[in-house]
Amino acid sequence: MRLLIVEDDAEAAAYLTKAFREVGHIADHAVDGLEGYAMAEGGGYDVLVVDRMLPRLDGLSLIRSLREQKDETPALILSALAQVDDRVKGLRAGGDDYLPKPYAFSELLARVEVLARRRGAPASEPTTYRVGELVLDRLAHRVTREGKDILLQPREFRLLEYLMKHAGQVVTRTMLLENVWDYHFDPQTNVIDVHVSRLRSKVDKGFEHAMIHTVRGAGYMVRDSAR
């Protein structure tokens, strides 16, 4: 995955570049908005990580300009402004995700990987997600494992749907709260963990291999551990 990090704080940029390279991605760095725009326009990036406050051209204008040029490269906005309005403004400018500073790198990585995957994905979502012997039928609202029905509450279904949509990728707790419950605040408790453990007890209990895995310090991942 090729990333462009547009960040004027040299230390933060160096930290990000190094961290992304360590997990096997290629990360370039632009020091201000104009340079970032020029590099992004050159193309070839899978995801842009853009700081909101940048010299010469701010992050929102950068993304807006790219979108006007019909450049749809997924962009994640990093910002010290973390209020509801700020987030909405960021997404309106054409950002695909918004992460308030300070953030955990694991959170940023998980979100960037989801964005990069979305880019390569076909335009229409498949109607069925399949991970190993676990099958989720989105149209029939039905989940089976090894052919046996698993009965889920509507919210549990959506939780599993989101996890399976991003099978093989780390999904953080805040991503789950955002995408399954559509709230963006920090719940400050392990409220999401309890939901996942309930889901896990229905999906994994009585089976040899676990499907829902906890990724320490990051979140959860659905993956067929039999393989």
């Binding site: 973390a82 209020q83 509801v84 309005d85 308030p100 300070p102 419950w181 709230y183 719940p187 309890v194």
Partner: protein, 512 residues
């Protein structure tokens, strides 16, 4: 407010020019001018008409006399005419007569001198004349008619215009006096009004000056008359109160940040230092770093909560405030926390009437509710060993929409209920549990921003937090036009009637 008392004395030297510049003075002066012009016009019109009337009267009198005299002359010739003229000339009155020979020698009459050439042109004219030799120096005015008799004799009949002139003079004097009076009264009135307004506005300026210089307790004085200046002062005072509250809040935040952020920062620093000094294995270092990150995360949470509260208290309702489905938010939150409650050994019951709508921000209301439920789960465990039930409910309450989170815990003593809404306030009983004391402050901020009310009640036993929001207009906004478009006869769907308040459907959540 002693500064107000000596203010006019200090300002006196430039008081008059200031007065002239006031709006009150300018307005009064303008009205005055308009009124004076109007009065002058009316009086002038009256005067002109009166003069015309009098002139007409004089003219007809002269005509009648001329006719009479001509009749005499026709009956008795010029001699009889002369006799009658002499007879009439002796009588008192304003009538003037003169009979002359064709060359202009006086035969009879009571006029001594007239301007030369008067007798040459027949018909009407206004002339200066004198009745006697003594009066030649101070001639009077008359309206006269000259009439040519047979054989070239001339007859002049006229009438003195003194009456008319006196009337004119009276009217002009009246105009003058009334204008003078209007002007004087107007000046006085505008001076009085302007000075009154000016002194009050000066007072306001003084107070504002004082406040700017640092006397933040200063308030504008209210006269109690309820006039526009009073209303302005009341509003400005309310504004100052609000600003004062915000400043006090800011001050409090600063103090609290100093205390409540420095403590964990110190802890973080100590931990790092301790690890540097004594950790010998990579595992120990790792554990210390994990602890440091956790500490930092907590700091970030406190910081974010403080920023949120500060924004809420600054009172900026966001542009994203739209009509939201409160029923969805409340039941969604109850559902989100229900497994957590169960894990903590409590029962969470949702009792939400459908179709409740308020104007607001879904995120903020959701967060406030999350804080309340979180608190209830943390502190709402029954001490007496009874059922630890947390009830989350929402219902229509007249024009408002209410929601409540109630627990069966120890509750909050009445004396502490106001205090717990403040930032960083944690009651002694809860000190041992995790938390920062910002949850209820956030809730209070959200409620205030939405124009709602927050009440802490005794749930006997336990705490019941009730929030009321103004309900959104009953018309479902947004897509009702779209609904009506394909079939204009179809009425837009209305939300279910308020009957839901009478029979709230208890929607107990699945507990598996």
């Amino acid at each position: 407010m002693t500064a107000l008392a000596d203010a006019p004395a200090r300002k006196r030297p430039k008081f008059l020019p200031t007065l002239v510049r006031t709006t009150a003075f300018k307005l009064t002066a303008a009205y005055l001018l308009i009124f004076a012009l109007f009065a002058a016009f009316v009086l002038g019109y009256v005067a002109w008409n009166a003069q015309r009337l009098i002139t007409d009267q004089i003219r007809s009198t002269i005509d009648a006399e001329i006719q009479g005299l001509a009749e005499q002359q026709r009956l008795g010739g010029i001699r009889r005419l002369v006799n009658i003229v002499e007879q009439r000339s002796r009588g008192p009155g304003a009538s003037l007569y003169l009979v002359t020979t064709p060359v202009g020698e006086r035969i009879a009459g009571n006029v001594e001198a007239i301007p030369p050439g008067t007798l040459d042109k027949t018909g009407e004219s206004e002339i200066e004349y004198a009745r006697s030799k003594e009066a030649i120096g101070a001639p009077s005015h008359a309206l006269v008619r000259v009439f040519v008799l047979p054989a070239g004799f001339r007859l002049l009949v006229g009438r003195d215009l003194e009456e008319r002139e006196r009337l004119g003079a009276v009217i002009w004097r009246a105009i003058g006096w009334s204008l003078a009076l209007v002007f004087t009264l107007g000046c006085f009135a505008s001076w009085f009004v302007a000075r009154r307004v000016l002194s009050r506005i000066d007072g306001m300026s003084e107070t504002a000056q004082g406040i700017m210089e640092g006397d933040l307790k200063g308030r504008l004085s209210i006269t109690g008359t309820g006039d526009e200046l009073d209303r302005l002062a009341l509003n400005l005072n309310a504004m100052l109160d609000r600003i004062g509250e915000l400043m006090a809040g800011m001050q409090q935040v600063t103090d609290n940040i100093a205390h409540d952020l420095k403590t964990p920062l110190t802890r973080l620093r100590n931990r790092a230092e301790e690890a540097l000094r004594s950790a010998s294995s990579p595992d120990e270092l790792r554990a210390a770093l994990d602890g440091a990150i956790e500490e930092a995360d907590n700091l970030i949470r406190v910081f974010n909560a403080l920023l949120t509260i500060a924004r809420l208290e600054a009172g900026r309702i966001s542009e994203n405030a739209t009509e939201v489905d409160l029923s969805e938010i409340v039941s969604g939150m109850a559902e989100l926390y229900e497994p957590l409650a169960e894990e903590a050994g409590l029962t969470l019951v949702g009792d939400v009437a459908p179709g409740l709508r308020v104007v607001g921000n879904r995120e903020l209301i959701g967060q406030a509710l999350a804080n309340l439920i979180d608190n209830a789960l943390k502190y709402g465990r029954s001490d007496a060993g009874g059922a630890s039930t947390v009830t989350v409910s929402a219902w229509r309450d007249g024009d408002a929409v209410a929601l409540a989170v109630a627990d069966r815990g120890p509750g909050i003593p009445e004396s502490d209920r106001g205090r717990v809404l403040e930032r960083f306030v944690r009651l002694e009983a809860s000190r041992t549990k995790p938390g920062f004391g910002l949850g209820l402050s956030t809730v209070a901020g959200v409620v205030r921003l939405h124009g709602g009310q927050l009440r802490l009640e005794d749930n006997a036993p336990g705490l019941r937090v009730v929030i009321t929001f103004p309900a959104a207009a009953t018309r479902p906004s947004g897509n009702w036009k779209l609904q009506a478009a394909p079939d204009p006869v179809e009425t837009p769907a209305l939300p279910p009637p308020a009957a839901s308040t009478e029979v709230p459907k208890p929607a107990r959540l699945p507990s598996t």
